[in-house]
């Protein structure tokens, strides 16, 4: 683009809760800065564009796409590819686009299992013919289509090339402001950060957490609803599963400041490939170590058994990008 010209921006939502779009509006008056430097060509949550409006644009004519949400449906993949073609810079915006996010937890089941529960088995469902969504149907000689529902959920970079990542569920306002600064700098000078940059901290969340740590071990895992945690002390050391030691910083420890443990929405730290594995490692290291030699096998199992759902807890936001990223088709165990 020619420097000093307005930036062309596309915002899209795929498998999303809408929170990422709301977060974008949360930057308040800076949204006006954005409006001053950018022309928006697509933003389904806020403006009335049609997909055809995007299709007719010239390839590479849009500067930046902020893509939020995971890829669950054929429609999401199609739009990701279309936007990749039209946009110079593709940004995975929010944990769902970066790692699959909460919708990615659906990878503990496949399409058939999901359809069975959603369309057949829930008590409130009445579906005697067992109808499930089809991608094509003929009605009066006309063909109706629905996007395909994939067997698994994908992160954005599994279907298109991604230039930047803005993690967070949703991204913290400060980091969205950083992104606006990047866009502004680009508009002014044409300069961009190195490809693959993650708009967050390079360090673990614990590094930016204000809580006091005493290197204590925990024997009992507690849940936030069961007690009121001390507001000064490390939450993990109070027995809450806090993913801070293995999660990328950058959010400003916002959950911790609300006296809630980190659930890991910023994903793994810079050096780590598999978030769940590194969380598992960190949590296992602090579980009931002090009187270890006196612990029997049964006691050990009793301690680890307190974590009821390790997969959902350790991969809450990153299952689709994990080394083992979905349930196997032919289960050996239920």
């Amino acid at each position: 683009m020619a420097e000093g010209k307005k930036v062309k921006l596309a915002l899209y939502w795929a498998a999303t809760c809408g929170g990422c779009d709301v977060a974008t509006l949360d930057i308040e008056e800076r949204i006006l800065d954005l409006a001053a430097i950018a022309d928006i060509v697509l933003w389904p949550v806020a403006m009335d564009f049609k997909y055809e409006d995007v299709e007719t644009l010239e390839d590479g004519s849009v500067d930046i796409c902020l893509f939020n949400g995971a890829v669950r449906l054929g429609e999401h993949e199609e739009l990701a590819k279309l936007l990749r073609q039209k946009c110079k810079v593709m940004v995975a915006f929010g944990s769902c686009a970066c790692f699959g996010g909460i919708p990615g937890l659906a990878n503990v089941a496949n399409r058939e299992q999901i359809f069975n529960i959603a369309y057949k088995e829930t008590v409130s469902t009445e579906n005697p013919e067992g109808v499930t969504p089809q991608t094509e149907l003929e009605v009066d000689g006309k063909k109706l289509t629905l996007p395909v529902f994939f067997d698994e959920v994908f992160a954005l970079d599994r279907v298109v090339d991604v230039d930047y990542y803005v993690p967070g569920c949703p991204p913290a306002v400060e980091r969205i402001n950083d992104l606006v600064d990047i866009v502004a700098k680009y508009a002014e000078t044409g300069e961009l950060p190195p490809k693959g940059a993650v708009i967050a901290s390079e360090k673990a969340l614990c590094e930016e957490c204000p809580r006091k740590r005493e290197e204590k071990r925990i024997k009992e895992i507690r849940r936030p609803q069961d007690f009121l945690p001390d507001t000064e002390k490390c939450l993990l050391e109070q027995g809450l599963i806090c993913l801070g030691p293995a999660t990328r910083g950058g959010c400003g420890a916002r959950c911790i400041n609300a006296n809630m443990p980190c659930r890991g929405c910023y994903g793994p730290t810079a050096a780590v490939r598999d978030h769940g594995a590194s969380v598992l490692s960190a949590i296992a290291s602090v579980l009931g170590l002090e009187e270890e030699t006196e612990l029997t096998e049964e006691q050990l199992t009793a301690i680890t058994d307190q974590i009821k759902d390790p997969l959902g807890t350790f991969y809450r936001f990153t299952l689709p990008v994990a080394l083992l990223n979905k349930v196997v088709q032919k289960k050996e165990v239920e």
């Binding site: 170590l289 030699t293 997969l311 350790f314 196997v328 032919k330 050996e332």
Partner: protein, 137 residues
Amino acid sequence: MSFEPKIIGFACNWCTYAGADLAGTSRLKYPPNIRLIRVMCTGRIDPEFILAAFARGADGVFVGGCHPGDCHYMSGNYKAKRRIELLRKMLAQLGISPERLRMEFISAAEGAKFAQVIREFTEKLKELGPSPLKAEE
């Protein structure tokens, strides 16, 4: 042809690796299905290594470490034990039999135990059949 499972083994330098060595020098027979990787302590085994082994087609993963109280780095074996407990639960959640991941404490003097454990584990994996992850490709 009968199915020959591929096993990736992580063995602590101070105990199980030496135990495996002893099994070898004592000419104890055990199946050739295991590829042993030496680590300085089971505490060094990042859960990611184990997941990567499964992701790349291992039918089983074995971890061998020092007996309780004997770890050269105090608590590496306890940490490993808990990590493996949790990993086994996670494997089950993904539909993979937790029996494909096994940890044992085997000292440098226990060559016979090493051979026995590998025999048992290989038999178990033959019973289970190829890793369900292989069928996915």
